[in-house]
Symmetry: C2
Subunit: 389 residues, 2 copies
């Protein structure tokens, strides 16, 4: 597997980590964590497809954020309804099958996977999260999963982050992970997405471990996710399986440095956009002067998801009119006919750089928002039309 | 120019004209109408780019529907604010420049174009509609337009529908028009879209003429548009210039037969989808059992605009999971986890036929809606990314 996830770390102008941060070997987990992965057989290519991360500190804190998709997958419903979300000791994750749109059997399977992991780890099952990604509408091959759990638990180690990050991949072109230090605190994270797995759809998963003390994990995770995974779009599609998990062992005895979690999640979010299906460039659209932040976000998302803007990003076409049109569509019924090149920044569409910064200044109030997005390319069509069932 | 607009008429299983309808030569306009077109020079390829349609009956009725885009083009604002919408005698239309995002100069230009047409026709300028389509953000070459109007008016005739339908085209692959008879009534219509003009975006225009008496033109047009142009999507983008105009001369002395206008507009709307940028197939998604019709439409549009569903239509992939995912995204925050292949009809995605009928049965109420949409293809990317400014 490529190590480009390491190499590209913090190469975005949009990420500002704490000044004293240090990037270290991304195979290293913070104190108190172990991880690992095996090939259980859900993927046909022989790649690892079942991963586990566990915190050995019973007094840890944790928080988990789950997709709001109304057709949520079984693992989402298990985590939503049957998990002690503030003390999640372990997460078991498979790639190759999303266990989505699988009905009651899917729920039983997700619970069985969780229970087996809990038993093998000696943990109460209510402290084990489950996440899945891959094909939807296909029953789980539970015999394969259950047969592999013993070996998976036996192989866990403090150096398991590389294997874990690879096991959660679907059509990602590279594994996405990092380990950073800031002060006496170490934080590591592994993410996947927005890959495609036939015949399913993009899902993003992210697992974060730190030895910092995080007393208000929900608040910290919510803020960091609001600034990262909630700000990206590849194709405007909300997955049935999106999951972000933060576990904080507290082993370092120190608090989480300001901005560290935010920087890690934003970097991984940007890597997901850069590795979006067929993507070659990443755009950032910032809308200011909207009536309120909600309106600004609506406009920014309409622009970010416009196939006309996305193809302009690919074609290096500084076509500000497409931004005006998308903004006008988002605000249908209002009047923003004064829009022109004086209030729309689209020059970077034409640049050769990989990241393009776009702007739109409205004159309606103080609302602002920004969204990161990928371009729309031939490869997107190939991935999604030509990989048929 | 191709005559395929004629050949394909009423070849959709989704269009049901009145039983006694008869399709006649589409160059023929109903009694009381004249049309024509010239090349004034806005298009570089020498094609006609300035068209005019006029009703010679002062007692006509009319109705016009205009885009709700907040960045509406100058001609939209002229028609919205300075037009006697119930007695529109003429419409002057250019292709090659949308006169959108052109500020105050654009407004002056649209008014000047209208005034010149009115003067040449001997009509009050407030009874002349103006419509434009093409590049945005570029000033109009008004000298070319104004110099051509005299010749345009001189060449008007009752057989001008073919030339008029060609003059409103941008990147349409074929002109879209028809003339039908039902009882003693004749109706003709010309439409364009959803073509692309560098560096602008798709716009749909439609002009309808009939010699029927239509006392409640607004109501008739609103209903027909609700069932046709409001039900289609190519790329989810609302144009700054969309316009639909109905003119009824009343010359036949008969009322408009039930369903005739609806059938004509639906057929032309379906032709626009079929001629959508890069399109090879047309889908129809019907959502039933939603909480209300508004919710059904929200879900249907999310499905119709999903690039994953659009590429499945191209790839002939009966991937019902993508429909479930899009529906779940539309209803984020609710719970529709019981969705499965038993309530989603996706088989026709895999068929070889040009039109694919899809269905989704929810269990939330009596709301229903349907939307027609095109597939997403390589050609769409070529048109929108590779035709740079």
């Amino acid at each position: 597997m490529s190590e480009s996830g390491d190499k590209s770390f913090f190469n975005s102008r949009w990420v500002t980590p704490p000044a004293d941060f240090e990037q270290i070997d991304s195979s290293v987990l913070p104190s108190g964590f172990r991880a690992g992965a095996v090939h259980c057989g859900l993927k046909n290519d022989g790649g690892t497809d079942l991963g586990l991360v566990v915190c050995d500190e019973p007094g840890l804190t944790s928080s988990i954020l789950l997709t709001r998709n109304a057709a949520a997958a079984a693992p989402i419903r298990v985590c939503r309804d049957h998990l002690q979300q503030d003390s999640i000791r372990a997460a078991i994750v498979n790639s190759g099958n999303a266990n989505a749109a699988t009905g009651e059997q899917g729920m039983s399977d997700a619970l069985a996977m969780r229970d087996a992991a809990g038993a093998a780890l000696g943990l109460e099952s209510g402290t084990v999260a489950v996440a899945e990604t891959g094909v939807i509408g296909v029953p789980m091959e539970m015999d394969k999963v259950l047969a592999a759990i013993e070996g998976l638990v036996g192989g866990l180690g403090p150096d398991g982050a590389v294997r874990f990050s690879e096991a959660i991949m679907t059509t990602d072109k590279w594994p996405k992970r990092c380990t950073l230090k800031s002060g006496g605190v170490t934080i590591s994270a592994q993410a996947k997405g927005a890959g495609m797995i036939e015949p399913g759809f993009a899902t993003m998963l992210c697992f974060v471990q730190t030895d910092a003390k995080v007393s208000r994990a929900d608040e910290a995770l919510r803020r960091a996710v609001d600034g990262s995974f909630e700000r990206i779009t590849v194709d405007g599609q909300m997955s049935t399986n999106d999951t972000v998990l933060l576990q904080a062992s507290g082993s370092s005895g120190e608090d989480l440095p300001e901005g560290l979690l935010d920087a890690v999640l934003l970097q991984l979010a940007l890597e997901i956009v850069a590795d979006g299906e067929g993507a070659t460039r990443v755009g950032r659209i910032e809308v200011t002067g909207a009536a309120d932040d909600g309106e600004a976000e609506l406009v920014a998302r309409q622009i970010a998801n416009s196939p006309l803007v996305k193809t302009a990003l690919l074609g290096r076409d500084p076509n500000w009119g497409r931004i005006a049109q998308a903004a006008g569509a988002a605000l249908a019924g209002s009047d923003i006919t004064e829009l022109g090149p004086d209030v729309i920044s689209a020059d970077e569409l034409a640049g050769e750089q990989r990241e393009a910064e776009l702007g739109l200044k409205l004159d309606r109030g103080d609302g602002q928002a920004h969204v990161y997005f990928s371009d729309l390319t031939h490869e997107y069509i190939v991935i999604n039309a030509e990989y048929t069932t």
